[in-house]
Amino acid sequence: MSQELDALYQEIILDHYKNPHHAGLREPFEAEVHHVNPTCGDEITLRVHVNDGVVDDVSYDALGCSISQASASVMTDLVIGRTVDDALSIHEEFLTLMQGKGSVEPDEDVLEDGIAFAGVAKFPARVKCALLSWMAWKDATARSLEASAR
């Protein structure tokens, strides 16, 4: 029983939950988005600052369960400082992991702490929690790029 739970609530996840990285809303930013998980009401407000093709900062204010909060924290670790292209391909990889129903082997070199979410993929109801911040980031990034293109 507790094994099953431990597969979901990896230490890494609980650590990020208790001490989220890059939390809070900061300036500068080109786009701010607000995403909601309509099922349970989890919310995130997220800002992206892209500079010269690089994700310079991602800041956020999130309300939600351990999985959704930890995921936001891990996501910022993974994308801040990367080029948008690299960050998008990490996003893609995380998405694949989450939608794999537990059959996808995560690549630690790419996903780092994100591999702790491999267990979440086996809990269909929690996949949305893990993806909330990632979807918000993707949306905000697209808008940032649009904003700078204008």
Binding site: V36, P38, T39, G41, A125
Partner: protein, 422 residues
Amino acid sequence: MIPGLLPELQVIRKDFPILERTLAGGQPLVYLDSANTSQKPQVVIDAMVDHLERHNANVARAMHQLGAESSEAFEAARDKVAAFLGAPERDEVIFTKNASEALNLVANTLAWAGPRQLREGDEIVITEMEHHSNIVPWQLVAQRSGATLRWFGLTDDGRLDLSRIDELITERTKVVSFTWVSNMLGTVNPVAELTRRAHAVGAIVVVDASQAAPQLPIDLAAMAPEERPDALVFTGHKVVGPTGIGVLWGSRALLEELPPFLGGGDMIETVAMERSTFAAIPHKFEAGTPPIVEAVGLGAAVDYLRSVGLDAVHEHERAITAYALEGLATVPGAKVLGPLDAAERGGAISFELAGVHPHDIAQVLDVRGVAVRAGHHCAKPAHARFGVQSSARMSSYLYTTPEEIDAFIEALHYTRSYFKVA
């Protein structure tokens, strides 16, 4: 044997428990009212029972194991329906309570504020052969919006009169809504051509596939975009699925432009006292607890039809319909309404019998176990067009045998003799 019949017809009949029933006086059931509602195969019933006995929970909102199972079954049903229609995207499939609600959804949301809002001067075009469910919503919405309702007339042999198409489909036309297959006349309408014409003037096209979905293969994705309708509806209970569920397929572009229809749980993004925002499709249009066990049943139903093969079902319908038309030609005083060539029509055959009122025909047939429908079949304008107040209708399906058609024809002869029409 008649060519085109389903080779495994006797096996298929075994799938439908009700076909074993006997009626008053020990008469075996000859069910020829499938255009009204179809019978259900065991696999549909079993899927529903299994869901209710083992997996029942609310969907989306419930995140426990039963909730996950139920949500998965419900969303899998959406995938199955999307595959059945060849829908470009599975999220374009909206579950409603029946085809009527689906048509009302489109009509009503077109009348509310939004980029496609109907206004005075706008025109809605329907046809004289529509089912009331594709007439009344547009009448009500025309009244409320100030738009004008216009009608394609019918030719004497029961086809759409396309000679006035240029007058009917104009720059003022905002919506063209018509049935793919008529439930009264059996006529199969030219979806591609009408859609192309409507799209050319910027109108959206709504297709009522309530009678088409049971018997024609549909592949939306394979249609040329300019010939693909913007919305298409059908109803669960006519495709061997349960009542309580219908389907609206709409293109993402259209569904995103339309405002929400019913408000409530599950169709929201967030609700606050000041205002609410709405979920993305399909949930935007699914307010409240959806028809969960019905979706499970419908999913099993469309899978059943696909496993038989819609081409094969279509062939079978055509063969049975041709055989029934031949039979009717032997009954003195029998007059078929609608096209006489089975190759160009669906499987519902409405007819009159000189000297006997349709109700009385249906009554005599019923005493012999033959179930047909009598009345206006929810198509009063089409009846009025042909100067009849009502008609009798026989309608077959994939489980119908030539022997059942024989019993039907024989019962018509008996009806004539019973009412002493000579």
